[in-house]
Symmetry: D2
Subunit: 333 residues, 4 copies
């Protein structure tokens, strides 16, 4: 029996998830959609799906068994709380919410409900390369992780739309979440350093270097470059006590010609993480079908919010900005 899903928000990412849910994955169907722009919702709705006038109507509709939130960030809090009130599993794109207070409300509601319902869209955790890397670290033969290098390089960002805050409150959350997960650790403080600025034609603070000080005292050393031009290049390397483990090159044909011995790199995040997105939903469908969620939780969304906030403070202060979390509810262990 296919899981009946309602999708809130039919912009670029919403449309991509509708394509995924209808054409790529099994065991699921899109039963309803809505969008702040109802015309857009209608044109994005697959055959047989109801177009709801509001998120609330979609969330409470009896035929909708689980919800996918792809609206803009500030709308997430109310929609998540409504899903929890309705007891429905919900997949929520990043950012989960846009303030610490909102994150705490979501956690409080979910804890009160007593079962995980919320899954946050940190798709890297579903990427096969990151999973193999985590298996090596968790295997333990390399010893404790002491440093983790996370290099996040984008070919380009939309001119005018991408501001100097966004590396820290939008891009960094991927590195923060994957670091917490790979190292099974929490962020306790954040420092930001701003190196020599790239002159590739934009008025951005780019690159930035971020240090995440972890509870274990391991240091995560993040480079965020958002306009590197040549491709989308995500690297990760963990320095452990007895050895090093790193993400491999992407599997591209090895060509030898006048440019040397070489492998192409991905053009953008769609090419790089397309299988991770598919896998993320594959596992969510199973979990939501069982009335719950898996992978990144509201706790992880809360942590990401705190790290982004601390990073924005740190770039201004130049100082080490602490990240202080509430005690972790048992639901998230």
């Amino acid at each position: 029996m296919a899981l009946k899903v309602g999708v809130i928000g039919t912009g670029m990412i919403g449309q991509d998830h509708i394509r995924r849910l209808t054409q790529v994955l099994s065991g699921v169907e899109v039963a309803g959609v809505t969008d702040i722009d109802l015309a857009r919702a209608k044109s994005a709705a697959p055959a047989g799906a109801t177009v709801y006038e509001t998120p609330e109507a979609l969330i409470t509709a009896p035929e909708v068994q689980a919800v996918v939130i792809c609206s803009w960030g500030p709308a997430h809090e109310a929609q998540l709380l409504a899903c929890i009130a309705a007891g429905k599993p919900v997949f929520c794109e990043k950012p989960m919410v846009t303030s610490e207070a909102a994150a705490l409300k979501v956690i409080e509601a979910e804890v009160a409900f007593g079962r995980r319902l919320v899954q946050v869209g940190f798709m890297r955790r579903f990427d096969a390369d990151y999973r193999r890397l985590k298996r090596v670290i968790d295997g333990g033969t390399l010893g404790a992780p002491l440093m983790y290098y996370s290099k996040h390089r984008n070919a380009s960002v939309p001119e005018g739309l991408y501001t100097s805050e966004m590396p820290l409150n939008d891009t960094l959350v991927h590195d923060a979440d994957i670091s917490r997960w790979l190292l099974s650790d929490e962020v306790s403080a954040v420092e930001v350093r701003v190196p020599r600025r790239s002159t590739r034609g934009r008025d951005l603070r780019d690159p930035v270097m971020v240090m995440l000080h972890m509870a274990s005292e391991a240091i995560v050393d993040v480079e965020i470059s958002v306009n590197i031009g040549y491709g989308y290049d995500i690297r990760g390397e963990v320095s452990c006590e007895n050895g090093i483990a790193a993400l491999p090159n992407r599997p591209a044909a090895v060509v030898t010609d006048a440019n040397g011995i070489r492998q192409a790199i991905p053009e953008d995040w769609r090419e790089r993480f397309i299988e991770a997105y598919d896998q993320e939903f594959r596992e969510w469908i199973v979990a939501a079908g069982a009335g719950t969620a898996t992978g990144p939780s509201a706790w992880d969304g809360y942590a990401a919010t705190l790290v982004a906030d601390a990073a924005l403070r740190a770039v201004d202060s130049g100082a080490r900005e602490p990240v202080t979390m509430i005690d972790k509810p048992a639901l998230y262990n």
Copy 2:
């Protein structure tokens, strides 16, 4: 509307495909199964599937829209002809058939039917790495392919069950098919050479070296090693006029420790080609839903049969054994 599929043969590979069709893929359901051992068919049948007493009953059942053949090789000919007679799309595992005469009968029937119905299970063509390699060659900037190295190394083979003929009539077909496909070429003759024999505890002619002389005069240089111990190691390298293109290493974590800087290799073909099998069926489901087939055809199954026959003659004769094909029916262009 899901495609209703009947599966003939519920041994190891049949069970794996049933799992794939029911748990991994969308747009398909297993409506019927059968096996020479009906008890095994019953235990393998998913909920809601009918167990048919014979392949013929399954093939002609109105509810079965398309067929997957996983029986043993000698049974394929009759089952394929029955599918064609019924006008039903059919996916057939390797070997398509076990003799040239049988291959010609299948081709004749399909040509008479007038539309492709048969797809043969050469899953390498659906592997992302091979596809990227083919795109580079077809792109043309490296010039014409002159030599292709295909290294086929198995960790081990079942003791007692795997004979010295099998590298040539079972294992080689993968290299032959992928070579024809990568180079867009046909095999015109086969030579076999037998190097120094491995002493890894078995009475096998292992390794063997096979030269496939292609119609273009390109030479395909195949190494088949079936008991290499360390893993399942599939390599491919194309020497073109202006450059070289090769399969990449598999994407495993790059570990640096006392064993050096290293990447694990797959243990077996399941690990190596699991995504290729999924993709093979994904594309078959779409084609079969449209009443036809895609990818490796009966023509490709015929070519594989001829190459295996020639290789067996060549290992005995030591000579260059020609491969002579009928004119290619227009259906296969």
Copy 3:
């Protein structure tokens, strides 16, 4: 006509350089040696070499045309000044001197002499891999360097002899010098962070993370691990505006076996840098034969001293410690 060289200090490194000068390199002969332990000097002296009772006697001996200083660091200042007073080219092992005041005296003397005489033993600048990396950066197609990652990993350090200051005042100088050279830049400030400590059996602050803030605002991000166990692993990666350039793996046989596809890494600095040491002396011999020096200068020795001092302050203060240099004398441009 071979260059007649006098060697001061016949400990481990001095003996290795005597071997190099007598057995590996051409155009040079060891005419004299001395050591604080004259018996050791006698046993290390090659055939035909005079054993001098003091460094001063060696430096001023007419038959000695150029000097190699391998004594311990605190003795270097006086020996360098004596060489300059004698107008003799001198190769000096690291550290050039052990205080800023001493470095300034050497610079002052050399500037007064009016020609470079001093070459400091930063051998990485003569390594073929680093040179290729610098050619790529200097080539300019990758744009300005914005970040440089320098990873300095030692298999082990002598127990009891290696203290927690040494990563910063002994090991770091290699990273600092190669960074200044690769980026054609100066260090303007230093920060140190101390990650989670390795438990590999020693009471050391290990690893340490050092940020070198360069005059261009590029940031050099150094990891120093001195007890990593698995080998001697030196990595370098430059993030530029349009691309990345990195040191390659060392050229070891690519072995595929049960440990994966792998390449061995060097055991220690001798294995890693043996050709760089040879090349360093090859170029020094040519320069000294012409009455001068090449490569790393007294200015570079001065810079290294300042960086080490700042790093030691920074590990205590936790703050950004400035590096303030005198105006660069024209002699060093």
Copy 4:
């Protein structure tokens, strides 16, 4: 005391060796030179070297302690025999001689003399990468070598001067010699296959595929491409019973840019093997100083001659052409 060497032949390779002997290496001096063109000899002679009118005069001159032969191939036989008659160590560039009969005369004379005097210029044996590869094979953990792939790809060859015989009688000798050495084996027969011809603008049989059947029954599978355009690309891979060992990529900076993640490859053999040539002479100087030779011997020159002859027969006959050697004199064990 430097070894006094006489150089016969001052063409391109002779001039390069004179440069090497006078500027790169120690313990040697060029005491005499000669050439069929005496004016060329005079201009190539370093300061202090005597120009001899004939090879015989140079070889018998009392001041010449050892000889380097860089004349054209047909002149080698008489010059080698004269060196042996004079009891002088001699380094001889490839080909040692140009016929089996000549090779046997050299062996006979050297055996009669009773000590090795002849070293043949197969420089690959002195290359660090090949040496590491041999150490892995000889180490034995991978088991016996069963197949060896030797890929010999030249960027280009001189138009008009390079004929279709030369891949087999000139280029192949490097692959044959390194195969015999890596596998500690002899060639017992040769087959040649001619794949589809490259259309890169020349009237050459290119590429060619050569099988060297070894005494152990291992097969060496050689690809010779002489006009590949993109660079000079030498690969070697040994398939053993338990694993694979291969030459690494050359150590070039790893650049990531719009062309992918890539490493440059050498332009030509000078770039690829410059250190191997240096090392070859370094070891020869030590051996010649002791009145003998090391590395590739007259026996190896004889084997190379036989393989080239067999390859030329095999390309015409299409058959397996045997290589029959005399019993190996004890001198060469």
